[in-house]
Structures are given as C-alpha cells and as structure tokens.
C-alpha cells in the first residue's frame, strides 16, 4: 500500500487519482503508523515553504519523514514536498526544512515568476524515475527551487532563467519539483516508474 501524507497541503486527490490511473491503490492519511508501515510514502505540498513546514510539524509529518528515511523506507516528495526535504528555504523569510538533503531552496533568477507550465527535464542517465522519459516536458508551478546538486545523489535539472534541480534521487528518497500528477502521460509514466520500485 502507498500512503499519501495528509498534512493539509497539496492537492491530495489529484495525486491519488494519478496513482489510481497507473493501477496503484493509495490511502490519504496523517496516521504516523500507516505512513511508516506503507510500501511507499508520498509527500505532496503546495503553497509557501514556511506555511507548509508549520503544517507539516503540526501534523507530526516531520517526525514521520525523519523516521521513515532513517529506516530506509521509500518516499516521493512532490513540489514543496521536495523543497521541505532540504536544510532551509528563503520564501517569505528564512525557514528551516526537514534537512534530509543539505542545501537551500531559493528564488529562481528569472524575469517572469512563478515558473508556470511545461518545461524540459534533463534527466540523469542513472535515473530510475525518468526511465523511458529522457528530455520530456513536465508541468511546473513554483518560484523557488534548490539549485546545487545534492551530494551522492542522482540529480536531474531544469532550466528557467538558470539551472535548478527538477528531481533528486538518493537511496529510498525520490523527489520532483514538478507535478507528475498533472503532467499527463509522461507524469503517469514517472509515477509508475517509482511505484514499480516499491
């Protein structure tokens, strides 16, 4: 069973429907035990960094993520659900993240923000998430991102004004800055690629 972490952020039903489309049953829950026992944990996130972290901590999600990663349990972070796994974020003032990845999430240097729409991802050759999806367009909606590649990880990049991390895969932790659940057929393929590793 795949669990989708419900901490009051993110379009949970979209994620659930996209998994259903690819033949994977999910449960939307904030129950730490179900989250920790699941085969895969999806961490969504929409909105501002600080607000998401506050909600995450209040719902006990921060501890769930830390315990799960420490135990080697697979996790997929989407959009702000990726960003909060870094050390810190600077959206509307400095905020501490969960700190799974070392690095900061900062505003993208581009004249028009937010970065909204379909952009190419330069997928790493080693990537599991992007198997069969080299240089496809995915749907992004964000103004902030992590820029520096994560050490000892498979880093995939996107460019909008500057290069930033579109996806990071390290051990059991997979993250994407875009919305696979809104990226049509290529997004469904990426979700399948992840689910098949569980």
């Amino acid at each position: 069973m795949i669990a989708i972490l419900d901490y009051g952020s993110g379009n949970l039903r979209s994620a659930q429907r996209a998994f259903a489309l690819t033949g994977h049953e999910t449960i939307v829950t904030s129950d730490p035990e179900i989250c920790l026992a699941s085969d895969g944990l999806v961490v969504p996130g929409v909105g501002a960094y600080g607000a998401c972290m506050e909600q995450l901590i209040a719902a006990g999600g921060r501890d769930v993520i830390l315990k799960r990663v420490a135990a080697g349990g697979p996790l997929l972070g989407i959009c702000v659900g990726m960003q909060i796994l870094f050390t810190a974020g600077s959206e509307k003032g400095p905020h501490s993240g969960v700190g799974i990845f070392t690095g900061e999430v900062s505003e993208i240097a581009a004249p028009i923000l937010p970065h909204i729409g379909w952009n190419n991802v330069r997928a790493s050759e080693e990537s599991t998430l992007f198997r069969g999806l080299k240089d496809e367009r995915f749907y992004f909606v964000h103004s902030y991102a992590a820029k520096e590649g994560v050490a000892e990880a498979i880093n995939s990049y996107c460019n909008y004004g500057e290069d930033f991390l579109a996806a990071v895969e390290r051990g059991p932790v997979s993250t994407v800055q875009f919305h696979p659940e809104k990226s049509g057929a290529v997004g469904a393929r990426l979700i399948s690629n992840w689910a098949e590793t569980l």
């Binding site: 929409v46 909204i116 952009n119 190419n120 919305h179 049509g184």
Partner: protein, 253 residues
Amino acid sequence: MTLAKRVIPCLDVAAGRVVKGVNFINLVDAGDPVALAKIYGEAGADELTFLDISASVEERSTTLEMVSRTAEQVFIPLTVGGGIREVGDVDRLLRAGADKVSVNTAAILRPQLINEIADRFGDQVLVLSVDARRGQTLSGYEVTTHGGRKGTGMDAFAWIADATSRGVGEILLNSMDADGTRAGYDTEMIAQVREITHVPLIASGGAGALEDFSAALAAGADALLAASVFHFQTFTISQVKEHLALHGYPVRL
C-alpha cells in the same frame, strides 16, 4: 529546451453543463464537460479553463461535481473561474480537483480577497482575470465587469499593479475590445501590460486566425487562451502549436 508557451481552451459552464457555442463534430453530447475536457486533453491542451457562469448557488454545487468528474479523468492542470467570492469557495474548488482559480469581479469589489486566497493557498493558485477595454483612464485602459458591459472607472494597469502586489500567480488579460471579433488578440495592450508586470500573462479575446496566436506571443504573452476557434473546430490545438513551432516558439507537441 525551454518553457513551452501554453495553449489553453476555455469552456463556459453552468449547472455542470457546457453552454454557449460548442459545436464539435463527432461528439454526441457537446454539453458534457468531461467528454470535452478529455478531447482537449488528448488533443494537446496544456491546461483547461472552466468559466462557471451559473446563476445560482444550487447550480454552482453541480459545477463542483463536474470539476470533480473532470479531474478524475483529465491529468492536466484545471483552472476554474466564476462566482468566487470568499476563501471557502476556493477551498471547495481545490478539493473538487481544480488546480487554480481565477477571480475577477469579487476581487474588484473587495481587493483583500486576493490577500486572503494567496495567504492560504499560495500566489500560484490565483489567476487574476482582468476584463479591460480602452477608456478614459490614466493608462488608457479601463477595468470592466459583467463581461465588459459595465465600466468601473478603474485604471486597468493600476489594478494589475495593486493585485500583483497582493499576491497573484498569473494574469488572464481579456480584451473587451477584441473579444468575439476574431480579429486577433489585442497585441498593443498585451505589450503594454507585459511591461508593467512580472507574472505570467495569458492573452484572451479575439483569436480568429493562426497568425493571431504567434502575434500575441510576439507581443509578450506567455500563454494563449481561446474558446470558439477550438469549439467550432476552426483549427485544432495541434495546428496552433505547429504554427507556433514554425515561428520559433517552444511548444509541447
């Protein structure tokens, strides 16, 4: 290798049914929003916009079900506009499966609504819909309501600046002078608005020929919204995108 210019079909709905001018060949029920959304999704639409023109609260709840049924089957972003007056309306739409909402009249009547929505859901969820026409204001463009029928006396550019500072993710710029004419997007207004805002700009109103789409991009639009040219199959979304690609614009094919 860059962000694609978006092509967005817009559907008018009331009480969960598509209304106003959809004439699709080979479609048994042109009023079914889910069927149309699927067709547009498969035809390469980059997003979909539903404009809810329901007259009553009861009809709006039917629209919510329609949004939910569409989101069940269409995996591209869905924007819903019309009748949003409070944060609760946004919450209901997002829970039903909308990804973004567009606000217009209610934000003009009470600008604080923009702050309330952006603070709760983030700027990126909010599309500010501006119905503008030429008028006797500082910028030469006036904000209208009721589909361009009522003038507000408000300067369109001042309103865009104010709204953007409150927290808006995108601007849907509808030209009331060009709307329905099929004589082309209002490129003059697009170019001027592009100068005063840093958020993505969606051009709307006036599309009638393929050249209109590339002209709007040349003027500075980031996305292109159109209704009747798609509903009446004047041309397909693919034809628009091929035209744009031919003119050197990045598109998702």
